[in-house]
Assembly symmetry: C2
Homo-oligomer: 378 residues x 2
Amino acid sequence: MHSIGVVHPQTRHFAQPLPLRSGAAIADYTLVYETYGTLNADASNAVLVCHALNAGHHVAGEYDNEQRSVGWWDNLVGPRKPLDTDRFFVIGVNNLGSCFGSTGPMHVNPATGRRYGADFPVVTVEDWVDAQARLIQALGIERLAAVIGGSLGGMQALAWTLRHPQRVRHCIAVASAPNLSAQNIAFNEVARRAITTDPDFHGGHFYEHGVVPARGLRVARMIGHITYLSDDSMAAKFGRELRNGGLGYTTQDIEFQIESYLRHQGEKFSEYFDANTYLLITRALDYFDPAAAHGGDLSAAFAPARDNRFLVVSFSTDWRFAPARSREIVKALVDNRIAVSYAEIDAPHGHDAFLLDDPRYHDTLRAYFERVAAESGS
Amino acid sequence: MHSIGVVHPQTRHFAQPLPLRSGAAIADYTLVYETYGTLNADASNAVLVCHALNAGHHVAGEYDNEQRSVGWWDNLVGPRKPLDTDRFFVIGVNNLGSCFGSTGPMHVNPATGRRYGADFPVVTVEDWVDAQARLIQALGIERLAAVIGGSLGGMQALAWTLRHPQRVRHCIAVASAPNLSAQNIAFNEVARRAITTDPDFHGGHFYEHGVVPARGLRVARMIGHITYLSDDSMAAKFGRELRNGGLGYTTQDIEFQIESYLRHQGEKFSEYFDANTYLLITRALDYFDPAAAHGGDLSAAFAPARDNRFLVVSFSTDWRFAPARSREIVKALVDNRIAVSYAEIDAPHGHDAFLLDDPRYHDTLRAYFERVAAESGS
């Protein structure tokens, strides 16, 4: 397998307002995206990759002269990799509201001349998908061969088949769920409260005060991180290992390696992630619930996707979006007699498994993309 | 069943220093406790109840002229209740470091004339048990008929059989564990970071600043609360129910009932719980690990308890201290040929089930205490 090499982000500006699910609209906006591979003559080999909370358009490859800049799904996307860029034209796009380049809370609101901050409109999975669809059209692609995403990205992949079913053929939803459970929402809410009650949050207008709510972001990330790992993988990786070999009997300093690891994760995150983006993205997760418009009937919700084909993948130790949640999706598809393959991967790494290269998982994706390639003539 | 009626807390001062596991000592201290029922002539019918994080000596009954002051385990302890105060003399004691009356961080350090605050010595489960043993002796009880506790209280019950095996007969450990997993420690650490990074924490000396780190305490409690409930019970109780019937599309205000519930729990907690106590108690949880002194061999750790008898109870949906953790205890006891009964209760309520009155659970305790009564002539 070869690396995709050096890549370059691109931007596209959209002057037409984007109507949002909330009733508001974004007057005009810019999306940042990357592409890998070559679009074929009939534009039939395009695959869109949707990102989750802590990622963006930089899916694969690396940036010129930038250390440790490898894309977040580089193990999946590249020449001869499971999503093979020798065959597919792969697109990564940063979602609206993000802090990685597309129009978001850190940008200036043209209506006020001030940064959006907390005034950035609430965006949903469906809004993101609509914005992505405009980009796909602008790139000259009538129909995607496939859309793929993990976790929140999987929700976007699902939403593509509900909002734009004619504009995509295959949907691959990994480690995803048809909506958040009360427990999922609860974890999001605690993380949000850590951020919004940080005195440096200033109601979401902290940019103007020259500070960031780093304390809140750290705690939010620590909470999130616990839910991404399985109990077993934490036990295997850290167990009760002490940081300094012996106990210090301290309530405020680090005793256990797991504490050191979590603090480090929180620290790193607080240095690059935007607090308003964190709120927006966790809310998009909370709001996603395609069954809601159908009285809770997920099967009814999937009726528009009758001509799509699906691969649904879950991981045995994922307790954030457990296999049972993926099976709800599969059941709804089967109820509609929609073609669906389902793989429940016995993997120890919890929710984060979707980012790792477990051979059974990647073999499953490779086989499925071979089928997509054969169908689309890629 | 009858209520135990009006009860009164008592205090006892201990002038002899208590040596602590950390190597430090508490020079002198006061314990607050309550008793229910009557100690029989040969003092053979005493049962000690150990409390978990958010509780104290007020186990049963209520206070005179005080609304909603019923004890935290009143459904278990009282006349004709499973722990029958017509037969047993039941003792509830508040642990050192607590904020409910026994000597703790809010009290004045006689060595400095200032409140202890963050300087209160780190106390462990073993230290608590040693202090409890002194109280039991002061009450004229040579040997407890039983010690019982849930969660962290269960750890104290276990520690009694390891440190003072001749001074207790039966040990009842409910919803407990032989130590915290990395994930358990991780949740404690996030909660602690929420508290200690609250600007109002002032390194633990906030009393002198006339503030409390309420923001941190709220977040800490919200995190804790999620781990006390099962995913299923949260789904059943709250699901995705909206607070106002429709979506408001807001990142900072409440949308879902679960958010409202958690915020309320956090708010209540921050109004009465002490931040330094929270740190101390979560650390006592982190540190408990009787196998550590035996190279991780829990069976070796339980060798001193060979003359004790045990009831171990777990709950099917408890993911904080899952049944597998209780089975580790049972295995260690069986390895020592120690008498142990084990009940795994199929209950939907998660860790909190130990506080509820599920009939199968309470019937199990009732039957066990009848055996204890028969043995001890209660």
